[in-house]
Symmetry: C2
Subunit: 359 residues, 2 copies
């Protein structure tokens, strides 16, 4: 018996497939010599790529699959049926059977969520899983943000559960006992926003037995400010906010690139200040923040970005390993018990009553 | 009789109040010697500030008011009742009575929307006004984005109306006959997103008599890419996307500042490349994009950012003047007639039927 975690890797997912997934595993193993892998996918492709990484060969198993989930595959009963034959589905099944401790895939996000939810099911007291990620801030620590797109519509009950899960994630990473949590909204006054957000705010303000410290609303311009540990939102808003941040960061750096190459003088200035701008580039490189987690499932499933490079894949694998080592699933199961009095939360009638009474 | 537009300025709104609003008017008049102003607010404060701007004195009237709308004022019947005594409400009333052609305020956004909607009413065939702004892109032209926060929830019917209004705005600014329009969504596939967005997409795809060219969905990371003229969304998503973009741009420039001041070498490099980074700063300065428009009301109302400086206020005034000169209200009234077959749009029963049938 071994205590080292075995991480299942969907070797076929992502823009580059086997080559970058295995290169990422090799890099992760270089940094963490206790990591072991279950490489899932076409055994011939995997074997021929493995030859380049001698540090991996003795520390991985190969699980052969014939089929793959493509980026165009729509979520359907048919997809769920054939998923067991795919590299993505088999990696998830390895988590379900207990053979692997976690699975990492760079494949189709919608399919990954559907297959993982179908196979692993939500944890007790969690209605729906949420996609969480660590985003860079002006401070030393990252902020946990969820949901980033698993659920288009969320009720107050979902948001409260996300708050507890996000706090558990932040606690694992930074060890703070009661991570601070804010709800994303379009203003900071109590009356702003949607029913679901206001209802969740009332609950989180009143609940004093939760393992988190609720600080009210945050607006989207403060996502990277680092003044809170966890930001909670519905998956539609969260996805829009996340992509807007990514797009704006790229916009500014592209403008900067254009500015620096606009004249010989500015090119020279750029060369001189390069060590400084390299630090900036490192801080903003999405590969250094790669690895979004589906929280609330009976198992650890990490989504690597489809375009992540070797470093990005290694980062996603490290996220998975960290969550396994710190028993995130057990922690959430424990924390979520502290939610009580929830039955009416997210009940539309209750929300309507409240709105009526406040008129 | 004069043909020069008279623009009502709420002199009391914004973080700095009279001083920056009048300085902005003076700058706008310097650039456009035909601009005339109705300065609304405390006459003593206005008069003493006016002394600093001799170019304004002969080209403005003062409308004295005693009361102001504060940034803490909540929208209520009481606020609407007392609004006629406030500088904001009186500036709007000057538009209603026809004395002024447009009003510019840097005050409380929620109050401005409520008072303007109450006094001016929505245009025929427009159910709700929307807040629109021009955002910078990688290309030479700005993108029109709406709604940025006037409506927390929007149905498909609202979104289609926003598309027509946004296209009219883009046409005024750039003269393109059929501006391209995309709906903001969390993916580009047809099946993604909310019912309202999908329903609006179906309508806009089928409608071939609209004065716009509908190009499907865009994700929030493409807001600044400049590959479309108009981006349409509900006010909740739009506000989150806008603020996320603002916050991320500030985040990157703050990191850059930190990088450039981290060593003597990088400080030197920064000084050398300063002309280039100044261009970047100019491109990103929110004051150069100040002036959000409430579209769909019977009158032109422009919101200046509360923290805008003199240059920002002048920009908001120029936006208002431009929309007046190009008769935006008449254009929208004309364009909106091309929407027909709309009765079922936004009708929840119709959406449900459609969802049922697609199962």
């Amino acid at each position: 018996m071994t205590t080292e975690p075995l991480i299942a890797i969907d070797a076929m997912g992502g823009d580059e497939g086997v080559s970058v997934m295995i290169a990422g595993a090799a890099l992760a193993r270089q940094r963490h010599p206790n990591f072991r892998f279950l490489l899932v996918g076409d055994k011939n492709e995997i074997k021929s790529t493995l030859n380049k990484y001698p540090n991996l060969i003795d520390n991985c198993e190969i699980l052969h699959t014939n089929d793959i989930v493509s980026s165009d595959d729509k979520v359907s009963r048919d997809l769920l049926r054939r998923s067991k034959r795919t590299s993505m589905g088999s990696a998830i099944d390895a988590v379900k059977s207990g053979k692997a401790s976690a699975a990492v895939s760079a494949g189709n996000t919608g399919a990954l969520l559907a297959i993982a939810s179908f196979a692993l099911r939500s944890m007790p007291r969690i209605d729906r899983p949420a996609l969480a990620a660590l985003l860079p801030t002006m401070k030393d620590s990252d902020v946990v943000m969820l949901d980033l797109g698993a659920n288009t519509e969320c009720d107050a009950r979902n948001l409260v559960q996300f708050a507890v899960m996000g706090a558990a994630y932040s606690r694992v990473i930074y060890g703070v006992e009661k991570p601070s949590v804010k709800l994303l909204n379009i203003g900071t006054e109590e009356i702003k926003g949607k029913d679901s957000v206001r209802e969740a705010s009332v609950y989180l303000t009143d609940a004093n037995n939760l393992p988190l410290s609720f600080l009210g609303y945050t607006e989207a311009d403060k996502i990277n400010s680092g003044d809170v540990d966890v930001i909670v939102c519905d998956g539609y808003s969260g996805n829009i906010a996340l992509k807007a941040v990514e797009g704006a960061a790229r916009f500014v750096t592209d403008l900067l690139k254009r500015a620096f190459t606009s004249s010989i003088r500015s090119k020279f200035g750029f060369l001189v200040s390069r060590p400084a701008t390299e630090l900036l580039r490192h801080h903003l490189d999405p590969n250094n923040h790669n690895g979004a987690v589906f929280m609330g499932l009976n198992g650890v499933i990490v989504k690597s970005h489809g375009s992540a490079n070797q470093k990005g894949v290694a980062n996603a694998i490290e996220v998975a390993a960290r969550l396994v080592e710190d028993k995130i699933t057990d922690r959430i199961a424990e924390d979520i018990k502290s939610i009580d009095g929830l039955p009416n939360l997210g009940d539309n009638e209750a929300v309507k009553d409240r709105e009526e009474n406040s008129k």
